[in-house]
Amino acid sequence: MSRSCCIINCNSRSHDSHGKPTGKEIGCYRITSLKRNCSSHVSEVTKTRRMAWIAAIQRPNITSQNTPAHRFVGSLGHITVKCKDLRVIQLEITGMEECLNIASSIEALSTLDLVSLMYPFFYRPMFEVIEDGWNSFLPQNAFKDLESMTDEWRLSEVNKDFSLCPSYPPLVAVPKDFDDETLKKVATFRHGGRFPVLSYYHKKNGMVMMRAGQPLTGTNGRRCKEDEKLINATLRPGKRGYIIDTRAINVAQQAKARGGGFELEANYPQWRRIHKAIERYNVLQESLIKLVEACNDQSHSMDRWLSKLEASNWQTNVKEILTTACLAAQCIDREGASVLVHGTEGTDSTLQVTSLAQIILDPGCRTVKGFQSLVEREWLQAGHPFQQRCAQSAFSNSKPRHEAPVFLLFLDCVWQILRQFPCSFEFNESFLVLLFEHAYASQFGTFLGNSAAERARLCLPEKTVSLWSWVNRPQELERLTNPLYEPNSLVIWPSVAPQSLLLWEGVFLRWNRSSKCLDEAYEEMVHIIEYNKELQTKVNSLRRQLAQLETEDPLLHTP
């Protein structure tokens, strides 16, 4: 087999004549056989989905529909490439035919839908993998930490073949006294089988945060004794807990008609339910589209910019999510109560709330490794459908289906906290920007697929490289660590006043402001801090020498 480059007239091949991969990193290959046999399939998915095999041409992926993709002046063609990381690139190509060929290649290849054709499956690392990221954050290891703090939880294998809940990982933490049979019953009562599982254990007071899908009460108020027992088991005697529903009360009411619903006070007397309105799905996607449009507005009018910023509602979304996360954290830390978080499916806003609450509460999540572990636990394992949500970004003008910048909003919220507590995080803004880029287009397999089940089916650990393998090398870590970091074991309460939330320039204005001066300043700061550390060690060693001399030579005291 010989995969030739998709660009017509390009002679590069991905495999040599013996069918061995040539190992070249850059290239844009098509698989001729596949094109012949499945052309209808390919063209169908091409229309509906766009994804980043094109990473081979230019790392970021490409959408090119909502601009004149190519226009011609004489024999010179222009292609405007609008990337998912919000960069806009112009290509000038001589020769009309070449230009058209390139444009159609880009269009076709940027929207390939078949996961197994995506770049991570073709990418071979050019670096030495020191620690395989696929094994860095196994649920078993995370559970060992939990075991050291409490014996009230166990690791259940009830979902080991993904049959009970397709979006859960094979191993989940549940209260010790509940056997797998009960869990199976509870799973039938929760949306998508997402029965309540442990998300976070607050060491300070033993309170917990759980997450789930909505209960399927329906219009006739169905109840499930096992579900009630399960969540009651997490309460201390005489204590009440909080259920945080990420939907407004009327949205939750409406959900009943479609078989969903919420926990009724009568059946859950020990729980107080709080409704918070976090936007989801296409509302968020539209908000992102409007924001990016505003950021690229060239009209030079301050009023227009501010009113567009307001109309995008992005900052409102950031504020709502942060507020809800603070509420959850407050219930746990201040009120000493356990919390259950859910919305409808429990794969979007629920995860935003539980993960942000952990950043607020747990200093461990504010380290580089801890944050990776959090993303792995609360987003990848917990079944956030990355592939659906991040299929398209703000420039695409095809009708959004499952796309929503849920993860980007989470990163934005983390950035807001990081900005308010610049010394409390071991990582810096670049790390967050990096995660944003890789969630939308990556040479690594980490963000492929929609759930642990899909990832297992695709054999990602065997066939692709993990993002963490690359990030956790000293030379990368150096770039991503925060020079100001000082471990802070306290809970950090961010301000959620609208005045204190800023637009995340590092993402949204990244390509239209010159960050050269800011970068220089940052480097200078890093330099200062490093030099300071050096001096400190020098001072310490001189002090030691002096002390030694003084003890050895008593004459020094009496000259």
Binding site: M302, L306, E310, N532
Partner: protein, 529 residues
């Protein structure tokens, strides 16, 4: 003036003080002629709050039963609250604060009484004088001279005694030209661009009036400025329409027919009342506690403050464009030439001239452009955003300048030798100060009141070693290039350090900056030892 007659109750025990970012504390309140002093009763770490009464912009009192609450809104945007037992005492205190905080008599103000033990009154007040400035600028000698035509303030009451003018123009011509300009502010040199010998001049509007008067001497003066060059630019900080309307009231603009080698631009910049109202709206928005993002953003937009910042920076950019890129001299004026003209000439110098970006350079620039060239500080800064008093001459032009400088600082963190802290300090001092620098409306008034003999100078104080360490930018690296700010609305931000200074969230950032500054200071010590 006897302050005692305004103070019926000087001391009150058992008062509760509530201030932002700190827990309430109980202690003794004391009112003096210029200060409000609060001392904590805790003996372990006795905290004192010393507040200049001049700093108080508005007070509100509320009585309940036998006690009262006084809310004091300060000109530095801080809001303090005092709970005072005893109705009569409370009323007395409120009355004293009200009267003493807005005394009109300049010579009764605190700078005339401020005598710190470690400082004696300076021999020289201020950093420099027009004479010294001229003598340091050897490049000027060939074509420019220092004129003392205004030595007794008779030609132009708002100019300093010495000004720099073209060498070929004699004092008599200047006197005649001065009659043709509002307030006698004839065109004088404010900046010489060493790279290409071009200059920035500033003046006030010409007094054409409805019948299009002309003045040969004024034309001659401007002609001399662009001697040897093909043309010059005039930047009028009013819109064309405003400039035309000004003719009805005796003002106007340089018409093409009489100044044929000058090309005129009109750039409308907001001034006076509109600017003050913008500030009031912005501060109101910043204090909004409704926790609603849409409301905040639309209030921010409605205040128009950021538009004014953008406008000021882009007009300054135009000025720099003319001088640096286009290589021509420029005359800047609006109507009086004491507000917007100063704003954009200052910003332009900061953008072009690396010497103005050091701490001395910046303070020297402020002294030349704002103190000597006369911005009427006393009128403009009599009240800030909280005052209920009817607006008269108030306008936050200087604050707008500081905001623009902050935007520059944020976009070029390495290029300025001073830090945000200096801008904050200046923003506070301009409204209420221990120092005499921002007193009065002009040099003439300052001389009449002997400000220079009887008060301390803020700029000199800021350059003392301890203060200088605190206000300098640890990241500073001199660059010879012009620093062109981005004026895209997306790249301008609200100056949180000032407008949200008293809210919780800014503090962590300050701590991080403090940390870096400490490191740099430590090195300094190590290097010396």
């Amino acid at each position: 003036m006897e302050f005692a007659e305004h103070i019926k109750t000087a001391n009150v025990e058992d008062v509760v003080l509530r201030q932002p970012l700190q827990p309430p504390s109980r202690g003794t309140l004391c009112i003096t002629g210029h200060h409000l002093l609060f001392s904590d009763r805790e003996e372990s770490d006795s905290r004192q709050v010393l507040l200049l009464l001049r700093n108080i912009d508005a007070i509100e009192k509320r009585m309940s039963g036998s006690s009262g609450t006084i809310t004091m809104k300060c000109k530095d945007l801080r809001v303090l609250q005092l709970d005072i037992p005893g109705m009569e005492q409370c009323l007395n205190i409120a009355h004293s604060i009200e009267t003493l905080s807005c005394l009109d008599c300049v010579s009764a103000m605190y700078p005339f009484f401020y005598r710190p033990v470690d400082l004696s009154l300076p021999e020289q007040w201020g950093l420099s004088s027009p004479e010294m400035h001229y003598s340091q600028m050897k490049e000027l000698y060939e074509k420019w001279r220092l004129s003392t035509v205004n030595r007794d303030y008779s030609v132009c009451p708002s100019y300093p005694p010495a000004v720099i003018v073209p060498k070929s123009i004699d004092d008599d011509t200047l006197k005649k030209a001065a009659k043709f300009r509002q307030g006698g502010r004839f065109p004088v040199l404010c900046y010489y661009h060493k790279k290409n010998g071009m200059v920035i001049m500033r003046s006030s509007q010409p007094l054409l009036g409805a019948n299009r008067k002309r003045c040969k001497e004024d034309e001659l003066l401007l002609q001399a400025v662009i001697e040897g060059s093909d043309k010059g630019y005039i930047i009028d900080t009013r819109s064309m329409q405003q400039a035309q309307q000004a003719r009805m009231t005796g003002g106007g603009f340089e018409s093409k027919s009489f100044y044929d080698r000058w090309k005129r631009f009109h750039r409308q910049m907001e001034r006076g009342k509109a600017l003050q109202e913008s500030l009031i709206k912005l501060v109101e928005a910043c204090g909004d506690e409704s926790n609603n993002m849409d409301r905040w953003l639309s209030k921010l937009e409605n205040s128009k403050w950021l538009s004014h910042v953008q406008n000021a920076l882009s007009t300054a950019g135009l000025l720099v464009e003319c001088v640096e890129r286009d290589g021509h001299s420029v005359l800047v004026h609006g109507s009086e030439g004491t507000d917007c003209s100063l704003l954009i000439s200052t910003l332009a110098q900061l953008i072009m001239d690396p010497c103005c970006r050091t701490m001395e350079g910046f303070l020297g620039l402020l002294e030349r452009e704002w103190i000597q060239a006369r911005h009427p500080f006393q009128q403009r800064c009599a009240h800030s955003a909280y005052s209920h008093a009817r607006l008269q001459q108030e306008s936050p032009v200087f604050l707008l300048l500081l905001d623009c400088v902050w935007q520059l600082w944020r976009q070029f963190p390495l290029a300025l030798g001073f830090s945000e802290a200096l801008l904050l300090r200046l923003a506070t001092e301009v409204y209420a100060s221990d120092y005499g620098t921002f007193l009065c409306n002009s040099d003439q008034e300052r001389c009449a009141l002997e400000v220079k003999e009887r008060t301390h100078c803020l700029f000199r104080a800021l350059l003392r070693p301890t203060e200088r360490d605190y206000y300098s930018n640890p990241l500073y690296e001199r660059t010879e290039l012009a620093i062109w700010p981005s004026v895209h609305p997306q790249s301008l931000q609200l100056w949180k350090g000032y407008f949200l200074r008293w809210t919780q969230q800014v503090r962590h950032l300050e701590e991080a900056q403090e940390e870096i500054r400490n490191m740099v200071i430590e090195w300094g010590k190590l290097a010396r030892s």
